[in-house]
Amino acid sequence: MRRLLSRLATSPQGIMLATGIVLAVLFSVANPVFLSAPNIVDLLRNAIVTGIFAIGVLIVLASGGIDVSFTAIGAFALYATTKLLIVSGIHPPMLAIFAIGIAIGVALGFVNGLLIGLLGLPTLIVTLATLSLFRGALLTFVGTLYYGTIPAEMVAYSRQPLLAFHLASGRVVQLPLAFGNFVLVAGFAALILGSTMFGRKIYALGGSEEAAARIGIDVRRVKLAIFMLVGGIAGLAGVTHVTLMRIANPFDLVGSELNVIAAVVLGGARITGGHGTVSGTIIGVLVITMINSSLLLIGVPTYWQRLVVGGLILFGTGLPIAIERFNLHRARLRAAAGPTVTVQAPV
């Protein structure tokens, strides 16, 4: 148990969790409502789309790349899917609607994958280019018109709560079914990353691409698969966004990419690749969401909000680094306890 605790305290997720708890305590001192059930449920709801995107970003970061095009893919999927349904007038079940969004995402991810896997171009460059490209293509060729009325299936889905309760004041507190998408994606990613060879190859690539190639991993194919997978996740996030907001606005989502990447990095993934866990990412997303949607509650004046958000991001980034440094220091002081490397008598 103590060993487990100390592992947790020194792991990036654990450190981020501690940081999140520190912030939560500060916030709830400022306004006790912060810890009320309705607020926590709201927080979870606000984390859904960022969370789904973040899982995709985590996979790319783990493989040693970086993706900034996912918001454009999400926007493309959200708009193209809704427009398709509205224009064609078909009424497929919700599952099929998600499938369409995912398929669009996979197709766009395939473009990224081709450029990155086949041509071997750097991921940041390709995705920066396709961010611009996908968005331009969406707004030029698919449309710019805002749909305020979305297909009935989507509305029906968006009204279904995963969890709901009524307060005495007449308020309803509900967590939409779409939260399930986040849970599913997170679970799916945890499974892939942790328990399949494909997942381990992703981390291997992030550790050393050269070494991966040398042991016979088909680096190009793995990269292609990664970007298709991540495209699909972004597509799902896009359609989920439609159901949450009950509108299809092609201008949405793009612009939030850095925020999502920040959440993932806060959660312990490294920009340099090879590291990061699903649990850490979830914590990172919750912390970023908490920072972005609690300022009013804790009474920060509107004019100061941007400044405070920036300051809290710096705090949220700096604190784990400080904690880690302290941990390293402590680890060194304890190192005399027992050697990590011993050479036994020859066999």
Binding site: V172, N292, Q305
Partner: protein, 304 residues
């Protein structure tokens, strides 16, 4: 037919519902008059991009530029350059613009803000807590509306109370939603919300409905029927007010042609568009009485 002019309208951002409607007005004007009137706009609502477009239009030597600025102040120098190149400049939503031939306003911003407050007060029964949204804290017209609304409330509705200061939605429906949810947490007795950007009311209304408070919290503001429609039907949004961008554009282009032909605009002139039948002229600012209210009762009469 007299000479054919090239008149280009530069809007805040291309492709959004509001300016698509405006483009219809531009197109109608071109069809009616045979003038070469078109509309352009940047891909994001950034003053810098708008300046670049106007620079290029000057180099392209168009006859008139009509403009809906993201930040009126930031455009002054480039508009001055246009005037200096003998290009006619007509502004819209920029009553403080100096370097324009004329500026056309659908109405007086302060009066519009006060009107929004009247709508809100009516919906709330003239008492209770309310909150206000602006698209950006840096957006001038939104702030004018909201300031006028708050002044009106202080003046006429003493039982109403503004909670928290102006909320910034960043013109993003998702942000309006999140902020409204927060408002509901922080101020459980909230009874009214006034929006400024066209998506503010939709985001706020969705948040209110998700919290099961549709019958307690009333939303009013500036928006378009196509955006607010579902929530007007469901009753969370009590009323939206707006002016028809197509009509405004029509009048703006008409003014531009008049200026090109050397004709003067007079106080009390009739521009033949609803709300602009008897405009007032103060300096170079032409003001109509073109605001429209949309409620459950007349929602079906709008198609934009």
């Amino acid at each position: 037919q007299t000479k054919k002019y090239t008149i280009t309208t530069v809007v805040k951002i291309a492709g959004v519902a509001w300016f698509n409607r405006m483009e219809q007005g531009v197109a109608l004007f071109a069809k009616d008059t045979g003038q070469n009137a078109t509309q352009v706009g940047p891909a994001s609502a950034d003053a810098a991009l708008q300046n670049q477009i106007v620079e290029d239009l000057i180099a392209k030597k168009v006859d008139a530029i009509t403009v809906v600025p993201n930040s009126p102040e930031s455009m002054e120098p480039v508009l001055k350059k246009a005037l200096d190149s003998k290009i006619v400049v007509v502004g819209h939503e920029g009553s403080n613009l100096e370097n324009v031939t004329y500026d056309v306003e659908a109405f007086d911003n302060a009066a519009f803000g006060a009107h929004l407050m009247d709508n809100l007060a009516k919906a709330m029964g003239e008492e209770g807590e309310y909150a206000v949204f602006v698209g950006h804290l840096t957006a001038k017209t939104h702030n004018q509306w909201v300031d006028a609304a708050i002044a009106r409330q202080k003046d006429k509705y003493p039982k109403m109370k503004l909670v928290a200061d102006k909320q910034e939605s960043l013109e993003d429906q998702q942000v309006a939603y999140t902020k409204t949810k927060e408002l509901l947490q922080a101020h459980p007795n909230l009874k009214g919300i006034q929006g400024s950007a066209s998506t503010d009311v939709a985001g706020a209304a969705l948040a209110v409905e998700d919290a099961g408070l549709g019958s307690q919290v009333n939303v009013v503001g500036t928006s378009l029927p196509s955006i607010a429609g579902p929530y007007i039907t469901s009753g969370t949004i009590k009323a939206i007010s707006f002016w028809d961008p197509a009509k405004a554009a029509y009048v703006v282009d008409k003014v531009a042609v008049m200026a090109l032909e050397g004709k003067k605009v007079e106080d009390g002139m009739n521009f033949g568009q609803e709300g602009y039948e008897k405009v007032t002229l103060k300096g170079h600012v032409i003001t109509g009485q073109a605001w429209v209210d949309c409620t459950k009762d007349n929602l079906s009469t709008f198609n934009f």
